[in-house]
Symmetry: C2
Subunit: 415 residues, 2 copies
């Protein structure tokens, strides 16, 4: 984990940490045969005590059955969550009422296996749309996973949620609360394709031992998502399944955080946001077929909203992303994407750089060393910096390049 935001003294990163870094959490990841291979495909996460829960879901009008099950669940029992089940291999989307029933069956089986109360299990699914959820494989898988639950299971759990992801994505931060005491936040995410989050993202589970109400947890989650998962795009496709879940079990034994405006609330928010940003960047970096990680920084916009929109438009442009795959300093495509992003823009005031190398200013191209620019764009990390020269709005977006492997992965996804 090398990409920590600098010098935020309120939190520190936990080496190799994941969802079991906070107190009172166990996890496991097993293979139950959904994926017709020995790949892990089922994750189980358990809190020793009931949790306040909050979640953000996709804005897609077509939602996974797991989301249709989860929304009323969180209304019924916002403070009593104990377990999370995540399967890969089937998205359980476009599966109708039977799909919601299948999610309920998985939840019930989990509660029976672990001796938990009814309505204490949150289920998430990812994989191919339209396949029925293979309950007959998942239910025995839960029994198997229950045997393996433990504080060391975080990485296995993260692995079990992967689809076309190359790497598991997890992280954890320790937050020193100014009011005294230390709480911990852990997280795992999966992404890779169909990534253009709007409201929430792919599947991400965040655990903490802090004490917060579900309402405050939800507000914190939204703040963090707006600065992390809502700033990434792999392919512009907003999934049917995007889910960002946060669970707080209070096991750090600290006083309840009463507001995000208190020093403790601010510290918690800073830690949560940093963790979400780390996981979101990891999702973009591990986008399908990605060979380069691209940061698009937009400054000088008329507003933060404009800056976000402009940065995300560049992040989504196939022409920009293919040029970066070719390490081609074809800045005209970036100017073009900024131009159609529908934000306030005056080409005569625009300044554009690759890293420190300015390529466009005052409405005209600057002379630059093409070979040096090509070299800069051949690095694994690429920075595009656009100053619109209009105001003080700024935003960052993260994406990856568009390679042959994106086509290969998605032309052959189901075969």
């Amino acid at each position: 984990m090398t990409e920590h935001s600098p010098s935020q003294t309120a939190y520190e990163w936990i080496d190799q940490g994941g969802i079991t870094a906070p107190r009172g959490w166990q996890a496991a990841g097993v293979s139950c045969g959904i994926r017709n291979s020995r790949r892990p495909d089922l994750a189980l996460v358990l809190s020793d005590t009931p949790c306040a829960a909050a979640a953000l879901f996709t804005t897609n009008a077509v939602t996974s059955a797991h989301i249709q099950y989860a929304r009323p669940l969180l209304e019924r029992n916002p403070t009593g969550m104990r377990a999370v089940v995540v399967n890969s291999g089937s998205a359980n989307a476009c599966t109708g009422a039977a799909g919601v029933e299948a999610t309920a069956t998985v939840a019930r089986a989990t509660e029976e296996t672990l001796g938990l109360p009814t309505d204490s299990t949150f289920v998430m699914s990812t994989g191919v749309i339209g396949l029925p959820l293979p309950v007959e494989k998942i239910v025995p898988g839960i029994a198997q996973a229950a045997q393996e639950l433990g504080p060391a299971g975080a990485l296995n759990a993260a692995r079990a949620t992967m689809t076309t992801d190359i790497r598991p994505k997890q992280g954890a931060v320790r937050v020193a609360l100014p009011g005294g005491g230390v709480c911990t936040i852990g997280g795992m995410a999966k992404g890779s394709g169909m990534i253009h989050p709007n409201m929430a993202t792919m599947l991400c589970t965040l655990t903490t031992d802090a004490t917060l109400s579900p309402e405050l947890l939800r507000a914190a989650l939204r703040h963090a998502a707006d600065r992390s998962f809502h700033c990434i795009s792999v392919d512009g496709d907003t999934s049917t399944n995007d889910t960002l879940l946060a669970l707080a079990n209070g096991q750090a034994g600290l006083p309840q955080i009463s507001s995000l405006d208190t020093p403790d609330g601010q510290a918690f928010l800073a830690g949560l946001t940093a963790l979400c940003q780390y996981l979101a960047r990891e999702v973009a970096r591990d986008g399908e077929g990605a060979t380069r990680f691209v940061t698009i920084q937009v400054r000088g916009a008329a507003s933060d909203t404009d800056a976000h929109r402009a940065a995300m438009t560049v992040a989504r442009s196939p022409l920009v992303k293919t040029a970066i795959f070719g390490a081609d300093p074809n800045w005209g495509r970036i100017v073009c994407a900024l131009g159609y992003s529908e934000v306030a823009l005056d080409p005569a005031r625009l300044r554009l750089s690759f890293g420190e190398m300015q390529v466009f200013a005052n409405g005209v191209p600057l002379a630059f060393d093409e070979q040096a620019a090509h070299k800069l764009l051949s690095e694994p990390d690429v920075l595009i910096d656009a100053d619109l020269g209009l105001g003080s709005g700024s935003a960052v977006a993260w994406t990856c390049d568009f390679s042959y492997d994106y086509i290969k992965i998605n032309a052959e996804y189901r075969s």
Copy 2:
């Protein structure tokens, strides 16, 4: 030319016709060395008499110098256009005031060479963004093209406007006006990449010998564009240069069309729209790296606007387009794209087909023959038919698949 709309008796297609099919038009296409090869890169079009002119331009906030030159030109002289110059190899975008000056120089040189009045030449450019327009090559090229002008030059002119296009795109229709007499409309277009027209499209020149005012021509152009060029996407990138130009020289010697609501106006509009639809489909079919042409038909939407938005969202989805490249009947991605298109949608009412093969209805997948579906999607023409089941709104969008060659072409475009 096999894709004519059926049974419109008001117009008929002219075999091999192009921009010189109407009376009083000549054209030429030559190589003047912009492209560092012997490829044709300069087209010249001439009307024997002054034309009423109308144009639609890109909505991109960053516009080519040729658009900055053309807007005031059309205001100054809406009924006196005589010539059109189109160059490939340089987009003359992001070139500042010098770019507009270069366009003016090309226009002046054309007027001097052909003995035309000032302000009678429309210039269009396409190619790489940010390169200065090589006036020193284009001006001699115009003299060369002037020597070759003739009624047989339409195809050469269409060829000279190509960039990554594989095939030249031209067409012509003959329209029998109910009021008596026949007029002709010809057109040529170039497209291929950076194609997601919004307002107008890539470069398209339409010529006619009908008699219309610039205002009526513009209204007709907008009607036709909304049903043609605004319905295609290759990659979701809206160019800085999109220009759709129509010129009417009245050489058919018919009475002026006074309104689009008259029988003559309706007949002209039908012919113009059919021609624009043909050219737009040709642009999508010849999209960068395309191996398949895809028609997305959306019916049963709450409104035509919703239907258009839904169809264009599917047309833009990299995941849908890569699945079609793989001939994979992965209909879940289509449902997903419809879902995030932000139109009124109820999955339980949605019906989805590939051609005649239904794959999804009433919120659940239907059993279908995967092999037969794969075969259907392996054809050069693919039809996706989505019935939203909500109302009477309908629209069609045209796109192509997303192949390795799209990546190759765009990763290496400038090298």
